[in-house]
Symmetry: C2
Subunit: 321 residues, 2 copies
């Protein structure tokens, strides 16, 4: 069996090559550009890990892993257009560098390319794998639409936010695991558990991300904190704060959001603390981690085989206890 | 066997229903909107016709036909964004009505929905059908990119233009036929012929479209002529004219393109006629029709079964002899 970090390296080595034909250069040079930006390639690796949970790594898992990484990059290219983002991973975004129309087509062609890789897998798994992939892709689009909708709404419930996060980010993790498992010959029950392991882990990761953006140590977090607050982003913390705050605290938050005073971050954080949002977020994250781990526990394979997925969990989320 | 017009009606009856879940409404209402715009639904129908060429119409051909019509609508939604078009079939385009970001996602979700339909077909045809569909989708994206590239270039060769048209519009017709044929159990040779029948017919149709926009009878053509000339569009006619014109004629065309005088259309047409562009275009169309019909002729089935495809040919292109 391979460790999580070994698989990260193996996948990067295999994936870092040309993915498109040479011509038309105006389409495929931008396509190669975005794929060369790198990134952690986590999602394809967890597909490989789920595959190995049930036996030897199979060639088909690598095909699905390629499709997953291409799909992820397709979402980045189109999301960057929608967010009008000019930078990603410190580099110019595709639409910023090559124009919006080309970026749109680059995303499209990348989405179809996923199915070239999926089409290489053994016929016996093809229908089920396609079904999971298609459903995931549809849900990710739905999540992105809900995210855009929420930005325009004044009030969003925490439940609706969790639903959106689940669609926008968690189902890709969950589906990556499930497809790897299916190709590994996993039973329906095991497939369901590994899917839920991933879905809950994804939500825990997002809670942590929101928490760290507010309360994290900038040195450890790797970026300046308070960005979400400055941009009035709807986060787990803000939505919960608005749900539990007193009328006076709510009014203060709304006033702070209406402006951009130099002490905005500091003052919002002090309302968050007064509402115990920090402690609540830690507990919420812990709840999702525990649910996630229970599903991992329930998968009927030898515990030793689960070690890489536990390594992954520790890599993605810091556990409190 | 069904006639071409019977299949048009049957497909429209089956296709005109809801295609997406109810929620999120902000995503799927625009999705239903574009599908309800109608259109002739020609491409899925020719898939059904190709299927029936080899035997009884099969349920799988209907699944593929659905995928084809969804794919075609996906291209319309994304192309309208790229062309900044505000109207299609007399109705507001999706991005104009619902915003560019939503239109982008509507196109994406429609592209993935194609594969839900493809995934319903019998396993024995799945790999080959996916392979044709994926290749076609990639080529259509390439064609759209080349079309955008050409609009920015001063000189485009006729061969490059034919290559672009083949990718942008003909391969969808060709692939629709080939997928229908594969599901009908056609041999490799018959599949190749039906693909080439469609690809050449598609090019003939485009030559005719360019011809009618310049020389057509507005009453019969259904829209005002001269639009391509007024917009300086690169067409079969203009590219050929620029290739065969004398230095003086070429200078006149370039001068006319640089301005927008009231007599622009009339003057360009007179250069076209002086260069025999009209006769040349008729011959070019005829050449592609003949090639197309030779491929239809070469398909090894009873002639009687080819009647609907001949009806289709007559519907799409008016033959000179």
């Amino acid at each position: 069996m391979y460790s999580f970090h070994e698989l990260v390296k193996s996948f990067a080595d295999k994936f870092n090559q040309k993915h498109f034909p040479a011509e038309p250069k105006t389409l495929y040079e931008p396509g190669e550009y975005v794929l060369q930006m790198g990134g952690k390639r986590l999602r394809p690796v967890i597909c490989l890990m789920a595959n190995e949970l049930f036996g030897e790594l199979t060639p088909d898992a690598w095909h699905v892993a390629n499709a997953i990484e291409l799909f992820h990059n397709f979402t980045l290219v189109h999301d960057d257009i929608m967010d009008a983002a000019s930078l990603r991973r410190g580099m110019e975004t595709v639409h910023h560098k090559y124009g919006t129309n080309t970026a749109l087509l680059v995303g499209d062609v990348m989405a179809f390319r996923c199915y070239d890789h999926l089409n290489k897998i053994n016929t016996s798994y093809l229908h089920r794998t396609l079904s999971i992939f298609n459903t995931m892709a549809r849900q990710v689009c739905e999540g992105q639409q809900l995210d855009m909708d929420f930005e325009k709404q004044s009030a969003v419930s925490l439940n609706d936010y969790i639903h959106m996060i689940s669609l926008k980010t968690s189902v890709l993790i969950a589906a990556s695991l499930e497809m790897g498992a299916i190709i590994g010959g996993a039973s329906d029950g095991n497939c369901r558990h590994i899917y839920e392991f991933g879905r809950n882990l994804g939500i825990a990761f997002q809670v942590q991300d929101d928490y760290l953006d507010a309360f994290g140590d900038p040195d450890k977090f790797g970026k300046e904190t308070g960005g979400d607050i400055r941009q009035n982003k709807k986060t787990f913390l803000m939505l919960h704060a608005l749900e539990v705050a007193t009328a006076a605290q709510k009014a203060e938050l709304e006033l702070l959001q209406a402006g951009n005073t130099p002490d905005k971050v500091e003052k919002v954080l002090s309302v968050f603390k007064a509402c115990n949002v920090d402690e609540w977020a830690k507990k919420l994250k812990e709840k999702y981690i525990q649910t996630s781990l229970q599903h991992l526990e329930s998968i009927a394979v030898l515990s030793a085989r689960k070690k890489p997925l536990l390594e992954l969990t520790d890599y993605l989320v810091q556990r409190e206890n």
